[in-house]
Structure formats: C-alpha cells, structure tokens
Symmetry: C2
C-alpha cells in the first residue's frame, strides 16, 4: 500500500446490509487530477468534485454506493457539499480538499440521516492502508473487488501506485469511467501536468471499454499523489499507471453484468485513432456479436455487419481480416467454423483481431458477452 | 389486393421446412423506387437491386429467406444476377426488371442448386394477388406476417396500396429498413418523384425504428406502382403510404426478437429533426431503458441518463419533462413510482413522451423491450 493513506469501508444501511460507505484520507495534501463523465446530466458529486479538484490538491475522498445522487437538483448538490463539509470537520481539513462520489440508483434523494452521522465518525474509523475495504464498499452490481497496483522506483527508494475501481453496468466511459481511485505515495517532477498523465492513461484503458453502451452519469477517475515516497520518473510512472488502468478496465469488463466472457478486441491497421475507436466500439456494442460470443456461435458475419455499420468509415471488404485468437474466419469453411466454435466454447477470454489494412494505427478495446443474466439484473433493479 | 399483381411463397429447403422463397410479378411494368441499407457491406442482392431500380421501372421481385447472400464476394453478386436472369426467362421479361432480395445468415454461399430450379418454375407457381404467402416466405426470426394496406381514390375509381415487411433482429434501419415491399395499382402524376415520395415516408417510419441498434446489410424498401387502377393524388397517396409504413414499422417493433412490449416514443419540443433523432435513438437503444420497461421497473432515472449521453445535444435539465402515458415521472414520489410500475406492468404498448422544451420539432420513434429471449435467440443462431 502507498504510504500515508488510511481508509475504511462500512455498511451504514443505505439500501441493504452490504458495505455502502467509505472514506480515503492522506495524512498530507496530495497533488490530484480527475476525469469525469461527459454525460450532460452529471451527478451532484461530479459537479462538486470538479470544483474541488480544480486547485490540483485533494486530501480525502468520500464515497457512498447504492444511490448516485443524480437528477436530484439543487438539493442533491447541497447534500454533496454538506457531506464534504462534515468530512472536512471530522478530519480537520478544508471541505475543498474532499472529493465526493456517489454511485447507484438515479433520481432518489440521498439518505442524509444515515450518511451525515457516518461522516462525523470518519476520523475514528480510519485504519492505515485498508484500501481493499473501500474497494468493497463502492461495489453496486459488481460481483468482485477490482484492485491493481504497481511498484516503481523513486529518487529515495520505492513508491506504490494503488488503484481500485467499481463498475458492472451502465458502462461506456467517455472521457472517464465508473468510479476509480488511484493512489500513490510518489511525487512527480515539478513541471509534470498530472491531468495529462492521467488523461493519456484513461484514453488507452477506460475509454476503450464498453459493457452496455450506456454512459453513466457518475463516471469519475481520480489520481492522488502524496509524494511521501519521493519523486518518480514521469515516464515510468505513466507506464505503471497505464498498466494499472488497463488491469482495472479488464476487471470491469469481465465483471460486466451477467458476463461470462471477457472480450479483448484489437483493431489494427486503422487510418487513425478516431477510426479505430468508432469501429472498435461498434463491434463491442453490437448485441448480435455479444450474444454470438456468449453462445459459442461461429457467426463471424456479424463482425462484418458491425464494421460495415460505421457509415462514415468505409473499409474495403477485400482488405478486411478477422481473427478469433489466431484463427482467420472470413469466408470460413465448415471446418474453420467448427474450430471457431470450439475456440469460443473453450475460452473465457476471447481475443478478437480485426485488421482494417488502411493505415498504421492499432488499438485495444475491452468488453464482454451479453447474457440472459444481464436482462434479469436490469429488469428489476429498483424493485 | 392491388390489380395486376400475382405472387407465390413456397418452401424450397434452403434451411428447414418453412417457406423460404417467393416471387412477386406485375402483369405490366411498374414505376418503381427503392431505398437500401447504408451499411458499408451491402448484400449482393442490394448491389444488383440498386442497378436494376436505377431505370425507375421494375416488374418482378424475387426473394429468398434463411440466407442473406452477404459477404460472399464476386460469386455472391454473380449468383444474384443469375437468379434475376432465370426469373426473367421464366416470366418472359428482361432481367433488369427483376429486383432480387435475400435475408438470413451472413457469409454463407446461396444454395443455387435449389434456388435456380424454383426460379425456372416461377411462372407456373404464380397466383393472382396471394401476397400473404410472400409475407410468410420472407420471414426469418419473425413470429408473424407483417401486412398493411390502404384504399385511395383515383381519377377512374379506387386503388390499393399493399405493403408487406419482415424483420425482427439486426434492426436499426438507416435510410432504409429490413425487407419491405409496397405494391400499388395506382399511378401518380407525371411530374411526381417516386423516390422522394418513398424516402419521405421511410424517414418518418422505418428510419425511426430500432430493435437492437444493429444495421442489417440487407435492408431494402421497394415501392412498385403499376397504374392499373388509374392516377391518384400525390398528397393522398403519400399520406396512405406513410400510414402503411408506420403500421409496418410498429409490426416490426412489436415482433422484435424476444420482445414483450412495443415502445412508442415521442420526442417533442426538439430544436430540429437531427436532435430529436439522436435523442430518440439514444433512448430506444439503451439496454438499461429497455430492460427496465421489460421488468416493469419504474426506473425513470435511466431515461435521464439516455438523454444526457447524447453529448453533442445538451438539454437543460430543468426544462426536461418525461411522461409514461400521461404520467409525469421526473422527481417521482413513491406514489408516482407505484403508478408507473402499474402502467408498465399492465400495458403491452408503452407510450413514452420526452419533452425537451428547446424548440418546435416533434417526432415519433418505435422500439421494443429487451428480454432474455433476445439473448437465447441470438446466442445460437447458426448452430
């Protein structure tokens, strides 16, 4: 665990008996950067969080699950401010050093009567490190905690970058993702633009993920660096940060609501990143591609359809190559179809390679299959 | 039935024992217009059909289901041409007066050994009218025939416009739809642009439909007018054509793969048609909105999310109104949620009204809920 961070995750009864409230605190102020959802109706905590991170310094994060405090109007924003204020008082820091997050149902007022008393007790509940407990407290329909970390060298020894995330449905991050907190005891050289470092990593990880094409109103990725372990090299830090972000992205994809298979899609020989992204998302979001992978149905024609429906990026059919693992499937013989079917049935991580042969850009994307369980989970979510 | 048309629909064993082959023939050449899929990999019949309809005259349509003849390369196009040639010979007309259509699995060569003998027998199989039989022969995963017709006045009496369609999955028509044939014995005034008449009707019906956001490679809407019942007024014809198109659109939506509910969405007070269309499609394509409607879950917050994820069309939250039937649901009380839940559970046609309050454009869109059955149908489609 990175030095100087303490945290807790507990149940306060927002919806049921599972953990639903957590706080992360650094004993010294941290350099901080964050990216948020591009949804035009961001949640109240996103509105307040954007204000607080503008200074580039944060010291604490307060999170509740089971209720997203979205579409709750002025009262919702005031509730988020009051939570920051109460946490600030308990921890003895300014409320503007606190980043608030909420995740869960949309359109329902927060249960302030259980949240505020918990905020008041924050200081006494903190335990050194302990971030796994927070990883659990931020879960909604997630079935498992999502954690990834790396060690990197600093001028004075070794630092840790530690990331936790949640997210299983309403996931097509754009400029951001579901809740994700990345904490480090490294510092970075004075001239480093921490936002650029974070954004670049997010663009190659969370922004290449789609579970169900629905962009959450709460997406937030925050990076906090308290510097207690000394200064790291920016390139090394960025590399580790990207690895952690990709790890967490894959953990979210494989834990997609109802998912049984992780899909890792490589779009290569694209003209540029925009083209790769449009085609990558079109494939990963196609319910017909997703259901075929779920059923182990060697229906490669649906890939052709999904590439072809990106109307403004026509790719010559002759040059298009499609691989499942190492198996080329375009114009497949019955024998190849049998191999493809076996590949799909025998693997829970499906590697899909679509070669466009129109340029030199290559990008990876992550998603999951679409199953009956996704429907069950989402048909009765609030009832 | 419109005068002068004969047809048949039979089983020739392309996949199973259900009807899979049909021909429609007019005893005189027809003025014709067609719109086709915008998918960048159109099926071979779409390529050939575009060539044949360019003259503005057609006399026959030949259709097979169970195989779409898509992604089959040069051989696929040659197969489509040979089908037209054989039908032309059988009916004693030029092959360029024949429009071919195929629908079904992608990427598998057509079974020419069963199709060509059927083409040769076309003339003897034709029966006057008989279009219901064709409506059945073009079905794939459809559970019911889709037919709509209207009578209109002509200078010399009365004409009929008769439309049939198929489509249940891979449906987000763009500039076109799944297979749809609209036949009339009316003629239209000499200066009428038949393509514009058809396109305008398609834009308000099939292009406002989405079942699963996947745009088929075979989409085709064809209008044939043989003029045997005399000249109709263009405005009256257009009105009847639009009614038929909307009827067929709704029939497709309610028969969406696995669907239990038809969703009719009105987006009103939009800035313009582009804005209404983006927001309408975002709502109808949201798997979270669709599953909530399936489950009768009064989760109106997901509508807010779906409006908000149209990043380039921000709508002020204060002005946004959302109605299920007549029930306003934004900021719903527990009592309203209960009413909403009852509305969803007690109706198979869900009327959804989203008022943007930023302009004067109003448009209707059609879709369906998303259920476990959609997954089941599509997970094992080819196997």
């Amino acid at each position: 665990m990175p030095k100087g961070f303490s945290s807790f995750g507990i149940n306060i009864g927002i919806k049921d008996k599972t953990k639903d409230f957590g706080v992360i605190y650094s004993e010294v102020p941290c350099k901080a950067a964050a990216v948020f959802t591009k949804n035009n109706y961001p949640g109240a905590p996103v509105i307040v969080g954007k204000e607080h991170v503008r200074s580039g310094v944060l010291q604490a994060i307060v999170i509740n699950s089971k209720n997203s405090n979205v579409a709750t109007g002025e009262r919702g924003v005031e509730n988020s401010r009051e939570i920051c204020r109460t946490i600030g008082e308990s921890l003895g820091i300014s409320e503007t050093l606190v980043l608030p997050s909420s995740t869960g149902v949309i359109g329902v007022p927060l249960k302030m009567e259980v949240i505020l008393p918990a905020c008041k007790k924050a200081k006494e509940l903190l335990k050194p490190g302990n971030l796994e407990e927070v990883a659990e407290a931020i879960m909604t329909t997630d079935t498992r905690k999502k954690i990834s970390f790396r060690k990197i060298k600093t001028k004075s020894g070794e630092a840790t970058i530690f990331g936790i995330a949640k997210g299983a449905g309403m996931i097509e991050p754009n400029m951001a993702t579901m809740l994700c907190y990345i904490l480090s005891d490294a510092s970075l050289p004075e001239n480093t633009n921490l936002y650029s470092v974070l954004k670049s990593s997010v663009d190659k990880s969370f922004n290449c993920l789609s579970i169900d094409s629905d962009t959450s109103t709460s997406d937030t990725v925050v990076l906090l660096c308290n510097g207690l372990a000394g200064e790291a090299d920016e390139a090394e830090f960025s590399r580790a940060l990207e690895e952690i972000s990709v790890d967490l992205t894959k953990l979210i994809a494989i834990d997609g609501e109802g998912a049984t298979k992780l899909i890792e899609l490589t779009v290569s020989s694209a003209k540029n990143e925009t083209q790769a992204r449009k085609i990558g998302k079109s494939i990963l979001n196609s319910p017909l591609v997703k259901t075929a992978i779920y059923g182990g149905d060697p229906n490669w024609g649906r890939l052709v359809m999904a590439v072809g429906k990106v109307f403004d990026e026509p790719i010559p059919f002759e040059g298009l190559e499609i691989y499942f693992g190492d198996l080329p499937v375009k114009g497949a013989t019955p024998e190849t179809l049998k191999k493809l079917s076996e590949y799909l049935k025998n693997n829970t991580e499906i590697s899909l390679n679509v070669v466009l042969n129109v340029g030199a850009t290559s990008m990876k994307f992550w998603g999951c299959d679409l199953t009956e369980k996704y429907i069950e989970e989402n048909a009765y979510y609030t009832t």
